[in-house]
């Protein structure tokens, strides 16, 4: 395609240099999409579609519906990129289209999830009370089974086994918690972006994130405890 071969070298270099979730700055992304850069479009598809599928899944009733929501979202992005005004990040813009598409579809399927009201009433603690000593124990409120030191440094690349375990743990989370932790910790959105995408308050975002992280940590604890005992 001749128009592609006329793409400036700079943009080609940027497209080649990013891997995984490391996308170039928004102005580069938008310019590339408008210029018809298929590599850039494919990179967005491959980077964001997982988070989009999971988010869609919390609004509609089946995986097939969720996939259609994601497809319709990308088609809307293709149609809308020329009109994108940059009032939010590209990512927030795409995810907002997704949420609106998913909500409409959820209404059609009679599966409306009352997002905001469902957030408010959760006052009980995220960490299971059975982890702590009760009022009848010597040190009420202190750990019953104390957390062990994990030998894994924070930045270490984890075994494939651990990644599978985390994926399982995420799949078992309630949809709203899964949406928040996926956007924040897996996709790397900021808390402001997540609040804007899901239209929730900062406090709700934090509560959901905390609950979800507590649950995933619990799954990893089982794994590290077993590894420690057999070491």
């Amino acid at each position: 395609m001749s128009w592609m071969s006329r793409m400036p070298d700079r943009e080609e270099a940027i497209v080649e240099s990013f891997t995984g979730s490391r996308l170039p700055p928004d102005d580069v992304v938008v310019a590339a999409l408008r210029a018809g850069d298929e590599t850039m479009f494919a990179a967005l598809l491959d980077t964001w579609s997982r988070g989009m599928l999971w988010l869609a899944r919390s609004h509609v009733s089946t995986n097939d519906s969720a996939e259609e929501v994601v497809q319709d979202t990308w088609l809307a992005v293709i149609r809308g990129i020329d009109g994108f005004e940059g009032r939010s990040s590209v990512k927030t813009w795409v995810y907002r289209i997704l949420v609106n598409t998913a909500r409409k579809r959820g209404v059609r399927e009679n599966r409306t999830v009352p997002w905001s009201s469902a957030f408010e009433q959760r006052e009980e603690p995220a960490v299971d009370r059975s982890c702590f000593q009760s009022v009848n124990d010597p040190f009420p409120g202190h750990w019953k089974n104390v957390p062990a030191a994990w030998s894994t440094p924070e930045g270490e690349v984890l075994a494939a086994e651990v990644r599978d375990l985390i994926a399982e743990a995420l799949a078992e989370l309630p949809p709203r918690q899964r949406a928040v932790i996926t956007l924040r910790d897996v996709e790397g959105c900021s808390s402001e972006e997540v609040c804007e995408i899901l239209e929730i308050s900062a406090a709700n975002q934090r509560v959901l994130l905390h609950r979800a992280r507590v649950a995933v940590r619990g799954r990893l604890e089982d794994y590290f405890e077993t590894a420690r005992r057999s070491a």
Binding site: M1, W3, G20, L33, R34, G36, E38, F41, A42, L45, D46, T47, S49, R50, E67, V70, Q71, W74, L75, I78, R79, D82, P125, A126, V127, R129, C131, F132, P140, G141, H142, W143, V146, P147, A148, A149, W150, T152, P153, E154, V157, L158, V162, R163, I166, D185, V186, G188, S191, A202, R206, L209, H210, R213, V214, V216, R217, L220, E221, F224
Partner: protein
């Protein structure tokens, strides 16, 4: 509340305003820098005096880091192909429009 903690083999008095079960509920808020100054100080005081909660915080950070290492999961192959071709068609026609105007 005052309690005795053992650090480096010595008993030391620390002011522990939070018990461990209260402290764990603040970990995400702490990592988000969402605690107000007095609460943050109390959080860090507890942390300095409680090895177990120190382990918990480390475990929490390992968990957050691990979540960030998950590989992207792509769309079903045929949908990805359909979307790429929709993109190609749309953009090609836009470029064509611009060229002829």
């Amino acid at each position: 509340m005052k309690s005795v903690q053992f650090r480096d083999g010595k008993a030391v008095h620390v002011v522990k305003r939070f018990s461990c079960d209260e402290w764990v509920e603040l970990v995400t808020a702490y990592l988000e820098s969402d605690l107000d100054e007095p609460t943050r100080c109390l959080f860090e005081e507890h942390l300095a005096g409680c090895e177990h909660c120190g382990h918990y915080l480390h475990q929490f950070r390992v968990t957050v880091t691990a979540l960030g290492t998950l590989r992207p999961e792509s769309l079903p192959g045929d949908m990805r192909d359909r979307l790429l071709s929709a993109f190609r068609d749309r953009r090609a026609s836009r470029v064509e429009e611009r060229r002829s105007s």
